[in-house]
């Protein structure tokens, strides 16, 4: 079995920054595992600009922002495994990795940084009724198919949820000559950043229907329309779209942390950063925080210093978060309802207070 001082799981902006920082702070045997074929994570599909204004002082596209780190990681004496997934992370630091090139291998690590990002909340999670036709895409999935795959995924779009990914997709589809019938938002206000609302919707005359939700999906093969309902007055309206994009929330991917903590407290050797910790608005913040996490992990590995819950970051804004958080948690960790009640997935607090009042 191969031994490592540190495994960084996820080669997106958080994982790359954390790995570079740990390396710079003296960690020697370091492995970075990324499930996609290339490093960069979600940045690779964010072909719009607006990244790096804080960290680099210039405006970059997602792939440009990623490339600056990819270049550094590749020359930093870090073992990189791409097309490889961590399928299991045990409480004793045993890691099972399954990859196209490496096969199934078991390694042992002193510490782990989880930078696994988020998954998108599926539409099945909402009380939306009707059929289950094709042509329904989660926003990030649609973004990847369009920007990375170059695929044509539809012509007449409705976007459910006005989070940033939804807004950016609305603009992009419009620029590709597609019809965007509406962005539907159940709250009174747009969910994404104000600058995105103006630049992505207003500028392109895409209607934002606030206080509205989709309550029915129509269509037997491909989706043929949605019924939207105004939550204030109950009025219904049919929109004959051929594609529905859902941007209804991101859920941090932390199943590995749950496994390694055995349902209890997060072990001292495990660190979380990036969107798997909480959903960030800006990638620049992710980078700063991940660098700090890389430093804390190095202190633990080299000097045995335990991170007593310190979480540092430029932004602790968790308003975009759809998961349930415990209030005042030092690690801003979301709650998971388990067979034994709520548990702070990371901090392991005994009596967490759910942020949504549940």
């Amino acid at each position: 079995m191969t031994f490592y001082d540190l495994i960084v799981i996820g080669g997106g902006p958080a994982g790359m920054a954390a790995a570079l920082s740990a390396k710079a702070n003296g960690v020697s045997r370091l492995i970075l595992v990324e499930r996609a074929d290339t490093l960069g994570g979600i940045l690779n599909q964010c072909t719009h600009s607006g990244f790096g204004l804080v960290y680099f002082g210039e405006e970059l596209t997602g792939p440009q922002y990623a490339e600056r780190f990819v270049a550094k990681v590749k020359t930093a004496d870090i073992k990189i495994l791409t097309s490889a997934s961590v399928v299991s992370l045990k409480q004793d630091g045993t890691v099972l990795i399954s990859g196209e090139k490496c096969g199934l291998i078991e390694v042992k690590t002193k510490a782990a940084i989880l930078a696994t990002g988020c998954r998108e909340r599926p539409i099945g999670d909402l009380p939306v009724t009707g059929t289950r036709p094709s042509g329904i895409f989660a926003a990030g999935m649609a973004q990847k198919m369009v920007n990375v795959g170059g695929y044509d995924i539809g012509n007449r779009f409705v976007i459910l949820g006005s989070g940033d990914v939804g807004l950016i997709m609305a603009r992009q589809l419009k620029l590709l000559g597609k019809e965007v019938l509406a962005v539907i938002e159940k709250e009174e206000r747009c969910g994404g950043l104000e600058r995105n609302r103006i630049n992505c919707l207003e500028k392109y005359q895409i209607p934002l229907k606030t206080l509205c939700t989709i309550n029915r999906i129509h269509g037997k093969g491909r989706i043929s329309g949605v019924t939207i309902q105004n939550l204030a007055n109950g009025n219904e309206e049919f929109l004959d779209c051929d594609t529905l994009i859902t941007s209804i929330g991101l859920i941090p991917e932390r199943e590995l942390a749950e496994e390694a903590s055995g349902g209890g407290e997060l072990p001292d050797w495990m660190f979380l950063c990036g969107n798997s910790c909480y959903v960030h608005d800006l990638v620049d913040d992710v980078t700063y925080e991940a660098e700090r996490i890389g430093y804390l992990a190095a202190k633990f590995i080299l000097r045995g210093e335990i991170n007593n819950g310190e979480f540092t970051g430029h932004s602790k804004n968790i308003t975009n978060q759809s998961a349930v958080f415990c209030i005042g948690c030092p690690k801003a960790c979301p709650l998971t309802k388990t067979a034994d009640g709520f548990s702070g997935a990371v901090c392991g607090r005994k009596d967490p207070v759910p942020s949504d009042g549940r």
């Binding site: 096969g103 199934l104 998954r119 998108e120 094709s134 695929y151 093969g221």
Partner: protein, 497 residues
Amino acid sequence: MQKYDVIVIGGGLLGCFAARNLARYKLNTLLLEAREDLCTGISRANTAIIYSGANAKPGTIKSRMCVETSHNFGDLCSELGVRYSQCGSIMVCFGPRGEETLHEKLSDGLDNGVHGIRLISGEEILKMEPYLNSNVRLGLFSPEDGTVIPWELGLAAAENAIHNGTEIKLNVKVTDIEKIEDGYKVFAGETIFYTRGIVNCAGLFADEILEKVQKPSVRIFPNSGNYFILDTKAAGFVRHIISHESEKKTKGLTLVPTVDGNILVGPSKTSSNEKDGFQTSSEGLDRLGKLVAEVMPDLPMEQVIRSFGAIRPNPYHVHFDSDSGLYAREEDNIGKFEVTQSKDNLAFLSLIGIKTPGVTCSNGLGRDAADKMAALLGAEINPEFDPKRPAPTRLVDLPIKERSRLAEENSAYGKIVCRCRTVSEGEIIDSIHRIPGAVTVDGVKRRTGACSGRCQGSFCTQRIIEILARELHVPLSSINKDGPGSYIIGGGSIDVL
């Protein structure tokens, strides 16, 4: 001219088992399925329970088959390489009306010879199911009840039928049937198949198929039910199949800990009555939510990853009403299962209106139909029939050493495509090349579990489309989600962006 001994119409669970059991005889059998994959109708959406017989009236086909089947269901599943969880079931009640029903069911169950069935107290139930509403009064425990994945079972039966010489044609919709001297002419548009006998397993459309050769006598009036599926994170909440006998006249709730570790919640009846009405309604989902609040208030409904609609094929006798000139249905639906046959059409067997416990009885009914058909046609036993169907490779079920060896031999087994269920590219490729193989995204989902986890395919759908197109040598735009018109990529006017 395409001549067969038997044509099975419909490739759901029943059709697959009819075909498999016909293969036990020296018969040249063809199965016709209208859609592009098998098990995409009723078999795709139901409660997935194998009943041991406490629910069936004594002396019926249902009771005989439930008792026989459930007792040996593990053997059938290992023969077919299908996963099965004999988790047992508890029928629970919260009041006097339910208690009465449970005593009746116990008595029926004992008459039927159900193994191990007994009444248990509320206290005992709460030890077995601590998250149930603590007001639970009485339970009927059926240790031999279990759960299976219906399409996994059906596909396995179909693979085994093919292995034993059965021919299966997909995308062939029967449009007409004509009786001829020594059998039937089966039309699928322009194509004609000749056959000596027909086994009609057309599910929701079995009545329409029968009416191609005779006057209406039985018709299907479907009703629909809604379900939720909870993520595997909620698995600890439900350990046995729990069915709730309501104090009201309405149907109670059923909770099933599935083979995959999810929890299936449902069905709640809705007023939808279309044959292709696989959809949910707010009426149905709201009712489910209320039932959950009543039966298991702590069930974490925020772990719901999907809701879906299912259809029950309720059969009714119909008679011609000369006043209206229409066929009118009788008041009560047909409760019993039977292999229907009329004297004018002896070699035309129909399985009409097979609802609960249809999954349980699928092999038994298929066997009965096959035996009857074989006797009619004077077919001999096929001594070469091989009942075994090798299970597909499922990495998560294998020991690490074995997985490691597979990944070394073939790198596709190392590459994880679906991370929620840990499904590798190798398993997806296998599912496409098995016969009958997956041709749609949902076909891959049904065969491998990819897309059925907590992210519901948002990470892997694109990858699966690409793998399907590559392996089948077709353009990406021809890959459907499930069924006609359900294209995902490139259905628009612009081909490539």
